[in-house]
Symmetry: D2
């Protein structure tokens, strides 16, 4: 991973700012022969799109993706795929105050210090709008995965909002797409609706924890020791705006266990090894086991709030700021499809990497 590109063989370079004419990504290394249409990619972009309900920013963006290269007669050609999304709703007047003042907890100040120039309109490059390009790339990755690993599925969902956690005992995966929070716990969804509404009205925001699970991923993915599957997943998730923590499997809870408790015992089935549990989140030594791959990440609350906070201006004067405009009270909601997209990109990348370095399939047979 480097700078604005991620991936080893499936390489995604995103570009564009919140309020520039367009944003997008250049996807290099997509295998040839993958069927893909703009409509299919649009499906995933619509999931991330702002303004869909009162819990996300009211900015109106069609987020229409165009395929500008790399696809011919409906399939990828093995050359770079350019995916572009025009920005249409650019009310830059909303952001006038931010040109001079830095939002506490926001990248405003660090971008300014680092670069000496900053597109302050809507956060410029530091805006979560950049993640639209990731979702487009993730859609392409999904299509490639569908050909390479039939049966693989990737699902993201919210497991807690602020202090309020969903209860795994109530999880129903079919519920995820039925509520605005992408949570499998219907009761939590009901609870969060009122909670977030109050926060939104008071001009505040709140953090969230997202989980992404890949089911049906093959064993053998991951390139120790610095291209481990969990290393790349950690980087992928941490690179998402506002993410402050990443866990694999039991994560921080594993640090509280003994070795006896943490061992996922192994038995043998007709299809190969089976495990008694999945504390490891499907990854051992940086290589996938064939179990569910489980990643969780923590999203901090957005710093664009109506509550006045102390800050300074570019000229160094102390002042206060409140951020008007259209913002997400819980950016974690829209991070769900982004996390799914990153999972898709990382898995595809490692499938290609394994194929390149080792070949098709697994050379180490068991039984």
């Amino acid at each position: 991973m480097s700078l604005n590109t991620f991936g080893h063989l499936f390489r995604v370079t995103t570009w564009g700012e919140s309020h520039g004419p367009a944003l997008g990504c250049t996807v290099d290394g997509c295998p040839p022969g993958v069927p893909v249409t703009a409509e299919e990619l649009q499906h995933w972009l619509d999931k991330r799109k702002p303004g869909q309900n009162k819990y996300t920013t009211q900015r109106r963006e069609a987020d229409e993706v165009e395929i500008l290269s790399g696809v011919f007669e409906g399939v990828t050609t093995g050359t770079p795929v350019q995916l572009m999304i025009r920005n249409t709703d650019q009310r830059s007047k909303d952001y006038g105050d931010i040109a001079e003042k830095f939002r506490p907890g926001h990248a405003d100040i660090t971008y300014w210090q680092k670069y000496g120039i900053r597109d302050y309109r809507g956060g410029g490059r530091s805006s979560a709008r950049e993640t639209a390009a990731r979702v487009a790339a993730g859609g392409l990755a999904r299509n490639a995965l569908a050909r390479l690993v039939p049966g693989l599925s990737i699902k993201g969902f919210m497991v807690s909002m602020g202090e309020r956690a969903a209860d795994p005992a109530r999880y129903d995966m079919a519920e995820i797409d039925r509520n605005p929070f992408w949570t499998p716990d219907a009761r939590a969804a009901a609870d969060w609706a009122g909670y977030l509404d109050d926060l939104r009205k008071s001009g505040n925001s709140v953090g969230a924890v997202i989980e992404v699970v890949a089911t049906g991923a093959p064993a053998g993915l991951g390139a120790p020791v610095y291209g481990k599957l969990d290393t790349d997943l950690a980087a992928a998730m941490m690179s998402i705006n506002a993410v402050k923590g990443v866990e694999i499997g039991d994560g921080f809870a594993a640090a509280r266990l003994t070795g006896e408790q943490n061992a996922d015992e192994i038995a043998m089935s007709q299809g190969g090894p089976v495990y008694s549990s999945n504390h490891a989140g499907g990854i051992l030594g940086g290589i996938s086991t064939g179990q569910d791959i489980v990643v969780r990440f923590a999203v901090k609350p957005t710093s664009s709030i109506l509550k006045p906070r102390k800050t300074i201006t570019k000229s160094g004067e102390e002042t206060e700021i409140i951020t008007k405009g259209r913002h997400d009270p819980c950016v974690g909601i829209r991070a769900v499809p982004v996390g799914e997209a990153m999972m898709a990109c990382v898995l595809l990348d490692h499938i290609l990497l394994h194929r390149g370095q080792v070949g098709e399939g697994l050379p180490g047979k068991i039984g």
Copy 2:
């Protein structure tokens, strides 16, 4: 980061197995003119060295580092620095059982499946012994940092062992080097001593959480959006053996806050911006703020334990395994200097990267 190399400009490639003739690292991109001796590097290796007390593996390794290239007349030349450590205590007979059986929770099975060949002696490449090379590279990075950023200091310490957490209210940084657990909480150290002794005697192991703090790092480090400072720190820490989670600043706790609570308010001092708090862990939008850079990572308990666990053999037969030999009851202890080394490497890398892409200093003045 890719495969066995990490870093963008300060690139460290580690090589070697637990029971091969040697292990080490090739460091490419160290700036020229950095004074360094083998003795200085040895200081850091000694900190990680096994067999120093009853809480770490009793394997006896001198862990003597040799500088084979890239240093002339006591300073680096700008060419690759090869650091080699001979393995001396290779009692491979201890590992006979592991050649056929897979330890639950260990990389044994995934390495076998992925590669079809595996150096089972001591875990081969998946052994935490690989981290000795990281510590050597980290020592070199520290010397380079000392020239480039006088006053920068990096300190790692243990913040919890199993369920037992140290108490920040009791932290005394001078205490860290006085106890075998590298914890700043003397009372926790006393408590953990008995706790771990019991675990060790019962043949069990336990997880831990490590924190690494860099003080005095300049603002402006980090290359959004996929070479963010926190992205690279997350990857660096997650790549360490047994790590299952990484947090920056408040990490998962930030997900429980509101935007009002999480904002680190900004005021102006003579030296530039100052912050009322450091929820962000010194990183905003992937770029350092100049505050302390705070990373925490969770280490799972080692899977090499004397407690019998159900598993299978390479030929697919179900069986039980207990792992004799010399193992760390809490690998988190020796992960402390490793975490420090990774922090040093990442910071140096980003200092070089910033200098290359932007130049010396920060173009964006405040005040």
Copy 3:
């Protein structure tokens, strides 16, 4: 360099096909604060643009470049710069025959074999049209160089067409922009005009040799041993369509010299070392000396000709092919601005790389 990206820190990823909706490049790593306008980039694109005289393809393309990201208020922000060029003249009917038959000497057959799918319209990704994106990136690199190395100039010119070589004794650099062949030898230009006209009318094509010279580049550029300045220049030039050979300085002629003849003797002037000659082309051990950097590359004749050639179809039948449509009788002409662009990109990249790894200026003083 890898796949569709070149450069270490100044990284250019090109995308797009000859007859797709658009092509362009994503430039990652351009330093912040570089003034740039679309008009300035257009200047260089116009130089490469087809259809300017009877010696280049009659395809009509405005080759208008749009800056979609990374530039704010007229200067670069340090974030990715997206440069897009819409394709407008896409007469794909001209290419019907090529969908089934392979042009001898063309990438038609290898793209088909490698990928199993191929955008045959105008050569798709293998078309020299891809180089428009390089020229755009080169224009941006020139603006950055103008700030970082005032006085640096880059000039490309044609030194031979087919068997007919220009004569260095007649070189007048002011002449280059006055003839359609970008040659400094006015007499050669006159000679080539008739020669190429005859070739064009007969439906044939011819090769050429291009030289690119950078004057005023600082000493110290180049990262031995695999990021040498000449290594990267060789890769950059060889990656241009139809290029079959690259030389630095005396190149192949140096292989005919003795060590005594080839040594560029060194004397001392007020400004530093001065050399009696420049057999080395300004590069020793992969690092620039401060002299002119001299690169030459050989461009083969285009394979799209009206002369019938024996070939096969996708279904394996033997047949003949003549390539109608609009083609360059000497693609070497339009390779001149492309070679300049690659030189600009490589030099900027190495200036950033040197700054990152070593710092500003040269630590090794002489005198």
Copy 4:
């Protein structure tokens, strides 16, 4: 390719100086399961080894290679392979003069200027001794190729020494290993023997041109547009010490041809496409055709000669230098096995890359 590493998936990082304790390479990405012994690698190193006859430097080096990692029970494990060669004959007193004076035509001056510190003993990192590590890596690549592409062979040979060219009409490939110049033209070998002897006695040196041919390489290798097979070969060869030019197929001669002459016409055989000629050197559009892959490179004469040349000292005084010590009168001779090694590494790398990005075999069938 970057800095001291080359390759995309088969990545070779070389390290070490001429007169340090050792040199070697870290090979990351070698597929698992490749049988290899130190003896097999030694075979290739012996071919490059100095002091074998009066035409190469009289430095005595055993050049014994040790495998320190990545190989277990005689086969590669998929983890990094460390290959180390101890330097034994380090008569550094021979080089005293060079510590202060710069050899004209040598990297002495540029290394000094760039880094401000330089291991002047034997040229340090700029010494051709670095290529021993490449030859070791090339030997490993050959073993991997033998498994992946049975029947592939790589052969390098000298085609001219100074002004004196071998005659292709007299080529007998069996002759190559019978003369000290690795030339297939026995008459040229006899001629060069006397010629080089005279040059050697007079303290002079001379350049050479080397050709490397790979027979039996599959079609489909190469990753357009910046990881083209010819791009990577050009970079690989240009990175070898003293190389000033690289050609693919007809190379510069192709620039003198018309399109009609240069087209390699295609017919159909049972085994697939066959070509009437190979002007292209087996590469079209950066992708291999399945024909012989033909690369030539020009090696300048060494600058370490007994003829006095004008130069300056580090303190800027003008002086003369003659280089005593043990030097190759024609470094081109020992560049032959180095060129072969680079070809092996590049081909293996592209076989892995193709497998990763496209899969096994060629999706585009003909006939």
